[in-house]
Amino acid sequence: MTDLAHIRNFAIIAHIDHGKSTLADRMIELCGGLERREMTAQVLDSMEIERERGITIKAQTVRLDYQAPDGEHYVLNLVDTPGHVDFAYEVSRSLAACEGSLLVVDASQGVEAQTLANTYQAVENDHEIIPVLNKIDLSAAEPERIKQQIEDVIGIDASGALPISAKTGEGVTEVLSALVQRLPAPTGEREAPLKALLVDSWYDPYLGVVVLVRVHDGVLTKRMAVRMMATEALHEIERVGVFTPKTTMVEQLGPGEIGFITASIKDVADCRIGDTITEQRRPTAEALPGFQPSVPVVFCGLFPIDAADYDRLRESLAKLRLNDASFVHDPETSPALGFGFRCGFLGLLHLEIVQERLSREFDLDLVATAPSVIYRVALGSGERIELHNPADMPDPTKIRAIEEPWIKATVLVPDDYLGPVLALCEEKRGEQLDLTYAGSRAMVVYRLPLNEVVFDFYDRLKSCSRGYASFDYQLDDYRESELVKVGILINGEPVDALSMIVHRNQAEGRGRAICLRLKELIPRQLFKIAVQAAIGGKIIARETVSAMRKDVTAKCYGGDVSRKRKLLDRQKRGKKRMRQFGNVEIPQEAFLAALKMGEK
């Protein structure tokens, strides 16, 4: 156990690719946490997907043993923070476990929108913030200009910013000594009843459910009987440990320390993030403030491309949930796509990550329906319902009003691309709240409907700014809006999986686009096929797949009959996979492709 004066707890705030993980690696190396031969690049991002995408999804901690130039030993606890807006919630709890933050900014790129939001969160958590200008080894680095930008855009003092190169290691020792000199030591009472924050929990195949804790008061020891104050669950601590980053068991954790415990906890979902852990025998009087629970805001259906994979999908979702209690899933059935699950996510990136992990770690081939947000529908009967699946939309005549969620979005963009970004926000029904400049960069704040953002906003923003715009948002409020459900009909039969809820002004355009897309994707058949988009009973767009004109084997003689029968068998098998719509059969692939194109 370390005395409080020799502990520093800090987080690193950085935009994707600005060098957070590389800096962490250098610090681990300098403090001897791992031998050089043990270092894999980006130790912190342990999931394959994190390493590949260069983003952090789960918060991780590392305890560093730092010997200061004056010979004193310090324990530096680095609490990693996810860098993406979808995981803002996880950022907030990482920050709550620390007293200070390193704000890492790429000295050639400058401040990005997510950095901005996370820094504000750190400020709200009373963090001491040390700006770090990374990548000064690059010829394009402009540390002075970026310093100015940090002051202009974020509004914090950057005069003491540390110029470093995490890649070459230059300036990293200065970062370590600045942590000791500039961050406050944690406070706490060793003799007081135990009061520890439940920062995070995850499932580890060897250890079982692992709970990450930050001790505020008292001492946490092995075999102690503890109580989770919110859930009132009782547990006996089995193991106490820290990550160096290697898993290292310790006897106890005292005030100001960060580490993990294991107990006989069966399910990650049983641990409420933000809960206060106290000793059963001698409980603390007052719990820590805790956090708002994270709630899914984006929903979509996930369907196995091969129906036989349904059970495997169900098991895989359950396994993923062991480590990520923030997404939800319920069984869903669609005539077009078969059996699948309706899933809720913290945001689009979260959706993408879960989908990618399902395909990569569980080898599942999936299709996702268009993302939807949660609509609040007031019915004529006075009843109010929440809706996140267009298929569940009540008949328009029964609806009195529909409200949709709006967000407050911040976009940082070089002024060369400001025009297209503004045009995009306007097209997406945005309302401008603010527009300011810092040097050659503009900061735009817009109010936008979330359903526009989950449609194709990210991709459009990226392409219209050539990737230079960064984007961050927070949920704002619900507002009434003229929303309609656009249904897609094939030969008069609705295709539930393709229906969508959109603003009335966009209904026709979006309906027409999907009809055209289906026209391209549905193979011709013996009979012509009408593809229509409709609001209620009113057709707003129509395309026709004309009848097939030619499909016959040119050459077929005696010896060929066996071989040609195989062709026929293939065609027959294909027909079995088709979905019946009225009097036509549409291959499921066409729907899958329509949805996949929608993702692009």
Binding site: L526, K550, V552, A554, V561, R565, Q571
Partner: protein, 399 residues
């Protein structure tokens, strides 16, 4: 089929069509996926002996048949020594009775060296020559990897027409870069030369061929469906007006000039396959039951087949009795290619099922009503519209 199980094949009305496969080619054409092989040297004596031996083997199991046609296919059977053909034809006549109007077709390449043998083949008993001309355009012939040019081909056609009572030739259309107008002109020319029969194949890209590789690499494209349909429709129109209407998807003849041997395939009659990769459909008597229809497939690789025949007297790789639904599928697949369609009486005789029981009535009714099929005079036929989409139509009818 081994001698031990010596099942006796009963007559399919006593008639039998005999196919003999000569698997060798001088070079392999880039569009062809037939069982053809290029070999430095072919031991003619061994091949002659083996083909005769397999023929003998089947003859003991197929007594009392009337042979209506013999077809030498390949590969390139015109590369075979005419004496081999003579020996095979003679042996067939020794084993079975042959029809008065026995049709004996030889597939031939229109190169001058092969044309030099036409008279000898005629003397051997060949009475119908089928020439693989493929195009009447030198650039197209090069693209198709053919060894002859246009002039050589027209000379070979003229010679064949002088030598043999019946002739035909093949053309491939909708070739890469070919326009509809160019095809129309080529077709007019072909019709002016042809005597009674033409085979016109729309280019198909088969898996495993060089053309398939080119197509996948994006350097060879088939026309899109609407244009392919236009090519097909023009072909039907022009030939019909010239008096050579299609009697099968890709085969055109003046009345009475149809290829009887190929008609046996499409009518799903008994046929015997001799040689590497040859297939047969033969009805056999079964004690106390209805006759079975056997499907026989020979080893495709020439050397494998040859060794098998030397060892076992036959080169069969697989022999099995076709299940009823397989017979239904095969008969409809083949018969609906024909203008005359499928005789309902023969359907019942061959499959053991009435048509009504073999095909879901609602589906049939829908396809009849929509004008893809028609039923009259005891036969089910495709309409021209239905014939053009036969593959899909069959899947619809049989699923």
């Amino acid at each position: 089929m081994g001698a031990a199980e010596a099942a006796e094949y009963v007559a399919d009305r006593g008639r039998l069509a005999v196919y003999i496969h000569w698997p060798f080619c001088r070079s392999k054409c880039p569009y062809c996926d037939f069982n053809s092989h290029v070999r430095e040297a072919v031991d003619a004596a061994r091949w002659r002996a083996a083909l005769l031996r397999e023929l003998d083997h089947f003859a003991t199991q197929l007594p009392g048949r009337l042979v209506t046609s013999v077809f030498f296919g390949g590969g390139t059977p015109s590369l075979m020594e005419p004496q081999i053909a003579a020996a095979l034809i003679e042996r067939i006549a020794n084993h079975w009775s042959v029809a008065d109007d026995l049709e004996v077709t030889l597939e031939a390449n229109p190169t001058s060296s092969e044309a030099a043998n036409f008279r000898a083949f005629r003397a051997a008993g060949v009475n119908r020559i089928s020439l693989g001309v493929q195009a009447l355009d030198d650039a197209a012939l090069r693209l198709l990897g053919r060894e002859h040019d246009r002039a050589e081909a027209t000379r070979a056609i003229a010679l064949a027409q002088r030598v043999a009572p019946r002739t035909t030739f093949d053309l491939i259309y909708a070739r890469p870069g070919q326009t509809l107008a160019a095809w129309r002109a080529e077709l007019d020319e072909a019709l002016a030369i042809a005597e009674g029969h033409l085979s016109l194949y729309q280019l198909t890209i088969e898996k495993g061929t060089p053309f398939h590789a080119l197509q996948r690499a994006g350097s060879l494209a088939l026309p899109p469906e609407d244009q392919a349909a236009a090519f097909f429709e023009v072909t039907q129109d022009v030939t019909e007006r010239a008096g050579l209407a299609a009697y099968e998807i890709s085969n055109h003849a003046a009345p009475g000039q149809e290829c009887r041997h190929n008609l046996s395939y499409w009518r799903y009659e008994d046929y015997l396959g001799v040689g590497p990769g040859a297939h047969g459909r033969l009805s056999v008597a079964r004690a106390g039951g209805e006759p079975a229809l056997m499907a026989i497939r020979n080893h495709a690789k020439p050397e494998t087949w040859l060794e098998a025949v030397q060892r076992d007297s036959h080169g069969n790789a697989e022999t099995h009795a076709l299940a009823r639904d397989e017979r239904v599928e095969e008969m409809l697949m083949m018969g609906l290619r024909l203008g005359e369609g499928v005789s309902l009486a023969r359907f019942r005789e061959r499959t053991g099922l009435s048509f009504e029981r073999a095909v879901p009535p609602a589906r049939l009714a829908r396809l009849l009503e929509a004008g893809f099929l028609e039923m009259s005079e005891g036969a089910l036929r495709t309409t021209p519209k239905g014939r053009a989409v036969l593959n899909t139509l069959l899947a619809e009818l049989l699923t």
